[in-house]
C-alpha cells in the first residue's frame, strides 16, 4: 500500500466559475443532510449527527489554520469555547434572548470567537511554525486555567448552562426537540462550510496557501505573510466561535472541557485523520472520529488505544489522511485504470483487515485476562462468547493475525505493481 510510485500531491485545485460540476457535491450533500433524519429517526442518532455537524464546522475551521495557512495550533478549542460561553450567557439574558430568534444566536459566538482571535492573532501570527504552535499552546493553557478561576464568566467546574427554548420562536418552532435543533445545525453547517470554502477562493484565502508554502516568496509578491496569516486566523476564529454557539444550542451547557488542551488536541487529530490537504478532508475526519468515539466506545473500553494507533499509523503512512487516500485514486480513475486495482486490493486488504481485527481481538482477550475480575473469564468478542482461559481463542486470533499479515505482505508487491501500472499513462509515455 505504501509503495506508491505516485506520491499524491495535495494541490489545491481552484475550480473555475460556478459550474454544475462544482455545485453538484454541495447539492448532494444538502439533500443527504435533509434526508438523514428520516432514515435515522431515533433521538440518539440525531444527537450523534448534531455532534458530527458541529465537529465538522470546528474541524473545517481548524483546517483553515493547519491545512490552508500552515499554522499548527494547540489551542483552537478556546475560540470555540469562548464563543459557546458567550452564547450561553446570551441565552441566560432573559430580556434580550426572548426577543432573539435562536438561529441567529451562533453569530454572537462567531463574533466573540473572532474578537478573541483578533487579540491573540495580533501577536501570535507574526511567525508560523513552532513559535505559533507554542503561543497557541500557552494561550490555550492560560484560558483553560482561567476557566476554573474566573467563575463569573466560565462558571467554574460545573460550567454555565442555559435553556435554548426561551428564545423567540421561529415560525412557531421553539426548538424543544432534537430534530428541530438538527435542522438548525444543518442550516449553519451548510452556511459555514460554504463560507469557508468560498473564503479559500478569495485573494486572501489563496495567499494563505501561498504563505503556507513559501512565506518569503509571498512577501515579494507584495503580501505581508503576517497579515495574511492574521486574516485566516481571525476568520477561523469566527467559524470556531459559531461552532461553539451551535454547541451551546445543542447541549445547552458549556464547561471547562470545551476549552482545554484535550479538546484542542482532539480537533488536531480529527483534522489530520481526515486529511489536511483537501477541503473535504476534515469533514471525513469529523464523521469518522465521531463514529469511532460514540460507537467504538460502546463496544470496547480500549477505544482510545485503537484511535491512538490509527492516528499514529495515519501520520506515518498516509500523511494526506483519509482524503489523501481517496484522492490518490483520482489519477487511475482519470486514466480509466481503476479496475486494475480491484483484484490486488482484495488480495491485500482482506488479509490485512483480518490481521487488524484479529490483532484487536487478541488485545481484547489479553486485556480481559489481565484486568477482568477473578472468576469472570467469560467474554464476548465478535458475537462469540467464550472463556479467556480457553487457549483456542488465543490461538485463533493470534494465528489469524500472523497469517493475515503474512498474506498481506506476500501480495503487497503485486499491489505496488498494479498501482504503478494504474498510474502510468501509456499514451503519454509511448
Amino acid at each position: 500500500m505504501t509503495a506508491t510510485t505516485h506520491k499524491p500531491q495535495s494541490a489545491d485545485f481552484a475550480g473555475g466559475g460556478v459550474t454544475l460540476a462544482g455545485l453538484a457535491p454541495w447539492l448532494i450533500a444538502v439533500a443527504f443532510l435533509l434526508v438523514m433524519p428520516f432514515i435515522f429517526t431515533s433521538n440518539s442518532a440525531i444527537t450523534i449527527m448534531n455532534q458530527m455537524a458541529i465537529t465538522i464546522i470546528f474541524a473545517l475551521s481548524y483546517n483553515m489554520l493547519l491545512g490552508q495557512g500552515g499554522m499548527l495550533s494547540f489551542g483552537h478549542a478556546v475560540y470555540m469555547g469562548v464563543g459557546g460561553f458567550v452564547c450561553v450567557h446570551v441565552m441566560n439574558w432573559d430580556g434580550f434572548f426572548s426577543g432573539l430568534p435562536l438561529p441567529v444566536l451562533p453569530i454572537f459566538g462567531g463574533l466573540f470567537g473572532m474578537g478573541l482571535a483578533l487579540i491573540v492573532g495580533s501577536f501570535s501570527t507574526r511567525r508560523a511554525g513552532t513559535v505559533f504552535a507554542m503561543i497557541s499552546l500557552g494561550v490555550g493553557e492560560l484560558i483553560a486555567a482561567c476557566s476554573v478561576i474566573i467563575v463569573v464568566f466560565f462558571g467554574g467546574e460545573e460550567g454555565v448552562s442555559g435553556d435554548r427554548t426561551y428564545g423567540l420562536p421561529v415560525f412557531g418552532i421553539e426548538f424543544l426537540q432534537q430534530i428541530e435543533v438538527y435542522y438548525l445545525i444543518v442550516f449553519w453547517l451548510v452556511l459555514s462550510a460554504l463560507g469557508m470554502f468560498l473564503f479559500s477562493r478569495t485573494p486572501v484565502g489563496r495567499m494563505a496557501n501561498a504563505v503556507r508554502d513559501n512565506p518569503e516568496r509571498a512577501e515579494f509578491l507584495g503580501y505581508s505573510a503576517r497579515w495574511v496569516r492574521f486574516y485566516s486566523f481571525v476568520a477561523a476564529g469566527f467559524f470556531a466561535g459559531s461552532a461553539g454557539g451551535l454547541f451551546a444550542i445543542n447541549y445547552e451547557i458549556l464547561t471547562e472541557e470545551n476549552l482545554n488542551l484535550a479538546t484542542s488536541g482532539t480537533i488536531l487529530l480529527v483534522t489530520f485523520l481526515g486529511g489536511v490537504g483537501f477541503f473535504f478532508g476534515p469533514i471525513i475526519g469529523a464523521i469518522v472520529f465521531t463514529l469511532l468515539q460514540t460507537v467504538l466506545s460502546l463496544q470496547t473500553e480500549l477505544w482510545a488505544l485503537y484511535v491512538g494507533a490509527l492516528f499514529v499509523a495515519t501520520v506515518m503512512f498516509f500523511p494526506g489522511g483519509l482524503a489523501g487516500v481517496i484522492m490518490m485514486h483520482v489519477p487511475p480513475l482519470v486514466l480509466g485504470k481503476l479496475h486494475l486495482l480491484v483484484k490486488p486490493y482484495i488480495k491485500v486488504l482482506v488479509p490485512g483487515l483480518v490481521c487488524i481485527l484479529a490483532t484487536a481481538g487478541f488485545i481484547e482477550i489479553l486485556f480481559h485476562a489481565r484486568h477482568a475480575a477473578l472468576g469472570d473469564d467469560e467474554m464476548t468478542l465478535y458475537w462469540v462468547t467464550f472463556s479467556h482461559l480457553n487457549p483456542l481463542p488465543w490461538i485463533v486470533t493470534g494465528g489469524l493475525a500472523v497469517g493475515g499479515f503474512w498474506l498481506a505482505r506476500r501480495h503487497a508487491p503485486e499491489l505496488a505493481e498494479a498501482w504503478h501500472e494504474a498510474n502510468t499513462d501509456r499514451r503519454a509515455s509511448a
Binding site: 494541490a11 485545485f13 473555475g16 489563496r206 501561498a210 516568496r217 515579494f220 509578491l221 505581508s224
Partner: protein, 252 residues
C-alpha cells in the same frame, strides 16, 4: 530623467567582515543592467540589501527617488520592485496557474480581500493566462508547481517575478545550474518579458549577460571596479585581472 534605482555609498558588514564596501550604482529606467563578479564578491549580498532582506550598515538605496531603508520586503514590492531567487522559490503545492495568479493579486488591487472570488475575475484569469503564455507553460497549467522540471520551475519563477507588473525586475542568477540549451532558452525568455522594464540581474557567468545587458557593473570584493557597456567592460584590464585571478586561485 531620474534613475530607477540609485545606490549611494552602500556598506554592509557581518560582524567584523565588511562584505559590501561602498557601492555606488545608478540604473536608468528601461535599462538592462547586469552585476557580475567572481564567487564571493558580494553579489548576492548586494541583491539582498536592495530587496530589503538584510538591513544595510550604511548608505542609501533609492527606488524612483524613495529611500528603501527599513522597508519590509512586501512594502518594497508594492513600490514597484520585484525579485526572483537564486534557489528556486515557488509555491510547490499550488498549481502553476495558481502560482502566477497569486503574483497578480496585489498589483490588481485585491489586497487582503475576502469578499472577491478569484475565479470569478476575468481580468485575473486572463492576466495569468497571458503570463503563462509568455513563459510557455500553458500546457503545464494545472499541475502542482513542485512537479515541474528544473528549467520549467526557473521559467515559472521568472513568470511570478514579472507578473505583478513591477517596473524594476531583479533576477538573482536566473540561469544557475542550467545546461547550455536551457540557459539560452531562459536568456531569450528574460529578454522577451522585460521589454520596457528596468532589469537588474546578478550573474556569475559573464557569457550569459553579454548579449542581454545594456550595461554591466563588475563587483569584486564588495566594490564596483568597472561599469559600462559590455564592450567597455570586456576590455577593462582590471576586470580581466579579477576574473583571471579568481580562476587561478580556484586552480590551486
Amino acid at each position: 530623467m531620474s534613475a530607477a534605482l540609485e545606490i549611494t555609498n552602500l556598506r554592509k558588514s557581518f560582524g567584523q567582515a565588511e562584505i559590501i564596501r561602498g557601492v555606488d550604482l545608478q540604473i536608468m529606467p528601461g535599462e538592462r543592467h547586469a552585476v557580475i563578479g567572481p564567487n564571493g564578491a558580494g553579489k548576492s549580498t548586494l541583491f539582498n540589501l536592495i530587496t530589503g532582506r538584510f538591513p544595510q550598515t550604511a548608505g542609501v538605496i533609492a527606488l524612483h527617488g524613495h529611500d528603501l531603508k527599513g522597508k519590509a520586503p512586501f512594502e518594497i514590492n508594492r513600490m514597484g520592485l520585484s525579485r526572483s531567487f537564486q534557489i528556486t522559490n515557488i509555491f510547490p503545492r499550488m498549481t502553476v496557474f495558481e502560482n502566477v495568479r497569486c503574483s497578480l493579486l496585489w498589483s490588481m488591487g485585491y489586497r487582503y480581500s475576502f469578499w472577491n472570488m478569484v475565479a470569478r475575475s476575468q481580468a485575473l484569469t486572463e492576466g495569468a493566462e497571458a503570463v503563462l503564455e509568455q513563459i510557455n507553460l500553458q500546457t503545464r497549467r494545472d499541475i502542482p508547481a513542485g512537479m515541474l522540471s528544473y528549467a520549467e520551475q526557473r521559467a515559472l519563477e521568472i513568470g511570478i517575478t514579472i507578473a505583478g507588473g513591477a517596473d524594476v525586475i531583479m533576477l538573482d542568477e536566473p540561469t544557475a545550474g542550467m545546461s547550455h540549451s536551457e540557459t539560452d532558452y531562459i536568456v531569450e525568455l528574460i529578454r522577451e518579458v522585460t521589454v520596457g522594464k528596468t532589469l537588474v540581474m546578478v550573474e556569475h557567468d559573464m557569457g550569459v549577460v553579454f548579449g542581454l545587458a545594456d550595461r554591466i557593473s563588475v563587483l569584486v570584493y564588495g566594490e564596483i571596479i568597472a561599469s559600462g557597456t559590455p564592450e567597455e567592460v570586456r576590455g577593462n584590464p582590471r576586470v580581466q585581472e579579477a576574473y583571471l585571478g579568481a580562476a587561478l586561485e580556484a586552480d590551486h
